[in-house]
Amino acid sequence: MNEQMEDQIRQVVAAYGRLPVDISTVRRTDDLYRAGLTSHASVNVMLGLEDAFDVELPDELLRKSTFQTVAAIEVALRSLVENEQARN
């Protein structure tokens, strides 16, 4: 499950993050902004993640730090997906 989620995140970042580097060379804890993620592209990544995981990121997660690393994105998404499951 862990790897599956990370793979899916990586696919979204690769598709919408417009990184000038191959996503496979970016480690889980590498800074995506330093890797070339612009604030404009990060909005597209947010939209892509919301679609891929069928969630809506709440305002408090719409921060630069949420999208700093693949690991940070996974923590944010996991909190949302688990909340969703707890509700159902």
Partner: protein
């Protein structure tokens, strides 16, 4: 450190209990109004006509300690809040848009140093701004980037503890008069275009080679020439925070607050002329309301909207600075962007309304009601960071914004 806490003192202590016979200190706003009326205003026509730097205004502001207005008192500054500085900008803009803009742009750089200049060398530089009245300029745009200040092509070269930077800057306002220029650049030669830092390039290590002149429609005294900037210095002059954070948390909101306060001052100056024109007409025929009094009532309504917009934005910033997470929110960015677009449009609206009221007396140069300079200056507001770019940013942010 933040730029919110207002440390302005209002009284004078007399340790020996003697009666202090000195005149009371002026409030910040009164001080700005006095400098505006005595120094800035009388030079405004010449500054505009010759597109020259407002030396006397900057000298007077330095003399009054106002170049260090935003710097905390513990660091030798006046400790004014951003709200207080914004009031001062409005006062100065009553008299000369260019001088007020130089003051505002300097304060934006000071705010970046105060909030993000954590190194020993930058703290020293900040204290020198307060004690010596150093003037700071900015080089954020770059030839070939197309106005997107969040990307750089030039890069900081590091050699142990030294840095070197070469930047083609299409505009550095009052660059040749500045004691230091804060320039954006990629963090290193290997960094991506968006991985930027802000570097304080001090006069002694700085060479500015003029690449373009400045003969513009308005804001002529800002002397916004283009330069090839070559700088070197101690690496401790590189601000430690990423420029992305400096921009969103300080530079962008402080710019938009001070600019909108400046444009409001210009609008107020135009409104004052219109009011005076209508009142002079009314005195000639008591009992009959002059026809353009209705236009003045309309203008005043727009000016009040403008005033409230600016005041509420300042309060919002003051509240957000106490809760730094707020300054990182999308809602805050959208609000600060909207402020710039609204204010830059309203200033043209108000000046145009004043022109209609004053008629030919406003259209002609050399009358007490002349509005040519204010009208020319007012059109610059929509262009300095083009409103279309700001709309495009907000359009993107609104795709994920939640709370209206």
């Amino acid at each position: 450190m933040s730029t919110t806490a207002d440390q302005t003192t209002t009284g004078r202590s007399t340790p020996d209990g003697a009666v202090d016979r000195r005149p009371p200190e002026l409030s910040p706003q009164a001080l700005a109004a006095q400098i505006g009326a005595a120094v800035v205003g009388p030079a405004a026509e010449d500054v505009d006509a010759r597109a020259r730097f407002p030396h006397e205004a900057v000298d007077a502001l330095r003399e009054a300690g106002m170049l260090g207005a935003l710097i905390p008192q513990a660091m030798g500054g006046l400790g004014w809040s951003l709200d207080t500085v914004a009031h001062a900008v409005t006062e100065l803009a009553h008299h000369c848009s260019s001088a007020a803009m130089v003051f505002a742009m300097h304060q934006i750089q000071v705010a970046c140093l105060v909030n993000h200049g954590g190194t020993e060398r930058l703290i020293d530089l900040t204290e020198r701004v307060a004690s010596e009245g150093l003037l700071l300029a900015s080089a954020t745009t770059e030839v070939g980037i197309g106005g997107n200040v969040r990307q750089s092509s030039c890069a900081v070269e590091r050699d142990h503890s030294e840095f070197r930077l070469v930047k083609h800057a299409p505009v550095i306002s009052y660059g040749e008069y500045a004691d230091a220029v804060l320039a954006t650049a990629r963090r290193s030669g290997e960094s991506q275009p968006n991985d930027q830092v802000l570097v304080a390039c001090r006069r002694q290590g700085l060479a500015l080679e003029e690449t373009s002149g400045w003969d513009a429609l308005g804001f002529r005294g800002t002397c916004s020439l283009g330069f090839l900037l070559t700088a070197s210095g101690d690496a401790g002059d590189i601000l430690p925070d990423p420029y992305a954070d400096i921009s969103s948390q300080t530079m962008l909101p402080v710019s938009h607050i001070l600019w909108s306060s400046l444009w409001f001052g210009m609008a107020s100056a135009a409104a004052d002329k219109a009011r005076s024109f209508v009142q002079t007409a009314a005195r000639k025929s008591p009992g009959t309301t002059p026809p353009n009094a209705l236009r003045l009532a309309e203008l005043t309504m727009v000016l009040e909207q403008f005033h409230d917009l600016v005041v509420v934005a300042r309060s919002r910033y003051a509240a957000a600075v106490l809760d730094p997470d707020q300054t990182r929110s999308i809602g805050f960015a959208i609000a600060m962007n909207s402020l710039k677009v609204s204010a830059s449009t309203l200033v043209v609206d108000v000046v145009q309304r004043a022109l209609l009221i004053c008629g030919m007396a406003g259209y002609s140069n050399g009358t007490p009601y002349s509005l040519g300079r204010l009208l020319r200056d007012s059109f610059g507001a929509q262009l300095m960071v083009n409103n279309d770019r700001i709309y495009a940013n907000n359009a993107q942010l609104l795709l994920v914004h939640r709370n209206g």
